[in-house]
Structure formats: structure tokens, C-alpha cells
Symmetry: C2
Subunit: 194 residues, 2 copies
């Protein structure tokens, strides 16, 4: 009961796209060019990606899965906000200091514009949703709903700032987790005492 196997892998499309983005920028690269270089038909692109912008955020999609896993594995004994912090650091640990996603380091030559930033932000929102879902089950008291979402969006914002700085600091930087810790810890302590 298994139909035709996937011939053109998703990775080939990503590679072809990365090359073209670096050569001539994101906006000037058409989906047709990507599929031609990958040796498949144009329509095949949409079997693997819903939108062109998804090509750049594959790494972030993986990190979303890591975050939900880490949150799901959190013990009930640890305080909720601490669990969030640990899950964030564990997720960040998957990014070694040496190699950062292309979209972060090469956004200049790729000509990343608002559309791209927005697509990245949509990914960040998914991370926030995961954290909010976790917190809304653990936090109690009045304002729990507001606090859950506020914590989630605030801490994701801080983490995004950390990622941006980390990428900008070049290959000689410290691991991403250090940056995330410095940016996110104040947020969580602030909510813990307030």
C-alpha cells in the first residue's frame, strides 16, 4: 500500500535554493529556477514546501520540534518558568557555535526583506504557542491566561534577540545557549517574582 516513492528529495531543493539565493538574492530567484536546478518540475516544489519562504526556515522548524519535546519531557516537580528556561537552553544547545543557518548570516547578500522577516516571525510565534500551551496547563491563579501568553511571547522575543546577536557576532562567538541564557533569564525571573 505504498505508492510511488519520493524521487526528488527535499534536500536537493533546499540546496539548489541556497545556491541561487546566494548567487542572485532571494527576491530575484524564482521557484522555476529552483526546480530547474534541482531537476524537477515546478509543481513538485509545492509537494515539499507550502511557500517559497519556507526554504529559509527549515532549521527553525527543527528547533520547534526540539522545543516541544523538551517541554514535554519536563518533570512536574520543576517550577513551570524554570522548565521553560531549561527547555529553551536545551533547544539552543542544538546550534553549535561554528555553524549558523544561512538565512541569519547571509541575509545581507540574499536581500532579505520584510516578507522574509515576517516569515521568520511566524516561526517564532509557533515557538511561543508551544510555550504558552505548556504554561497554561501549569500556571494557576487569576490572570493565568494573560501571564501564560505574556511569558511565552516575551521569552521568545528575548530568545530571538539572542539568536540575532549570536549570528551577527561571527563564527568566533560563544555557543548560542549562552546568549539565550543572558537574554531570557531576566524575563523569567521578572515573571517569577512579579
Amino acid at each position: 500500500m505504498a505508492g510511488r516513492p519520493r524521487a526528488s528529495s527535499q534536500g536537493m531543493l533546499e540546496e539548489a535554493a541556497s545556491e541561487l539565493f546566494l548567487e542572485q538574492g532571494y527576491a530575484k530567484t524564482t521557484i522555476e529556477q529552483i526546480t530547474q536546478r534541482a531537476g524537477v518540475s515546478r509543481n513538485t516544489f509545492f509537494n515539499y514546501f507550502g511557500q517559497k519562504s519556507e526554504l529559509l526556515w527549515v532549521e527553525l522548524d527543527a528547533s520547534l520540534k526540539a522545543l516541544t519535546d523538551a517541554l514535554g519531557a519536563a518533570s512536574d516537580a520543576t517550577p513551570p518558568l524554570e522548565a521553560v528556561e531549561q527547555a529553551l537552553l536545551a533547544t539552543a544547545a542544538a546550534f553549535p557555535a561554528g555553524r549558523a543557518p544561512l538565512v541569519l548570516t547571509q541575509h545581507e547578500t540574499m536581500g532579505i526583506d520584510d516578507e522574509l522577516r515576517a516569515a521568520g516571525l511566524a516561526r517564532a510565534l509557533q515557538h511561543a504557542d508551544a510555550i504558552e500551551l505548556f504554561l497554561s496547563c501549569r500556571l494557576t491563579g487569576q490572570d493565568a491566561a494573560l501571564r501564560s501568553r505574556a511569558v511565552a511571547l516575551a521569552v521568545v522575543g528575548a530568545a530571538a534577540a539572542a539568536v540575532g546577536r549570536w549570528a551577527a557576532d561571527g563564527p568566533a562567538r560563544e555557543p548560542l545557549a549562552d546568549y539565550v541564557a543572558r537574554a531570557a533569564h531576566p524575563v523569567l525571573t521578572g515573571f517569577a517574582i512579579g
Copy 2:
């Protein structure tokens, strides 16, 4: 030196668009339909709006101006983080409890999807940029760049959570500034002590 006066006002396009969005949703409404109802040509739309999604976030654009003004008017004597909090509250004060932007309350019937959320997030990013610019001139010490951006993104995230809750709580809610205070204050105290 004043050429042809503007005949079709921006407000008419916004009204026509709001009607159509409520009638048939955002995605199913074309720019041509909007301009037809407003009685202008399709191209005229692009004299007033760069993209279709801008129609929904006009109120947020006004709030961005209010925020930059409030930040610019901040006295040098007040601590930077306090100045940010006061500016946020002043900006939120412009939204009375009774009337919330359509996009926030009617996003269900309008069929707001990811594209729309992303467009709203792009506006939120501009708010964060304004706060970061303010802070990067005032904060000192190592990590000032990271901290400036982390504070800005985190506090804007918290404010966004407040706006979402505020809109969801219906017309009988308290003023928006109360929500923003509850969501943003922990973030700022967290960074103040950390």
C-alpha cells in the same frame, strides 16, 4: 507647487475594505473589489497602501508613531527601562476600552491566517526597533547591544499578549493600559535587577 489634489481618500478604501472583509473574509476579497466599491481604479490602491495587508494594521501604524513620540519626549533623568514602560502605557492609553481594532475582534469572521498574523508581527517588530533604538543610546556596559534588543523584543511580546487578551475579553474589559502594565512590568523589572 501643489499638483492635482487627492480625490479618493484613504479612508474610503479602508471602509470599503472593512465591509468586504466582514462580508466574505480577507482572503476572498480582492483588491479590485475594494477599489470598485470605493469608486476608484485598481492602481489607485497602491498609491495609498503598499500591500493589501496594510489595510488591517492602520491603527497599529498610528500607535508606532505615538510610541516613538513618547520615547522621544522621555526625560533624561528617568531610568531607561522606566521610560520604556511609561511610553508603552502612554501609547496603550490611546486605545479606549470600548473600541478595539476590527482585525483583533473580528479575525475569526475575517478568516485571518498566517499571512495576516505575520503582517501584524512585522508591525510589532517596528515597535521593537523603536524601543531598541532608544535603549541602545541609554544603556551602557557590556552586552548593551544584546540587552537592548532583548528588552525591546521581550517587552513588545508581552505587550502583544496584552493586546490579544484585551481584545478577546470583549467590550466590557478594562482599558488596554491595565493589561499592558500587568504583562510588561515583570519583563522590565526582570531586566532592571538582572
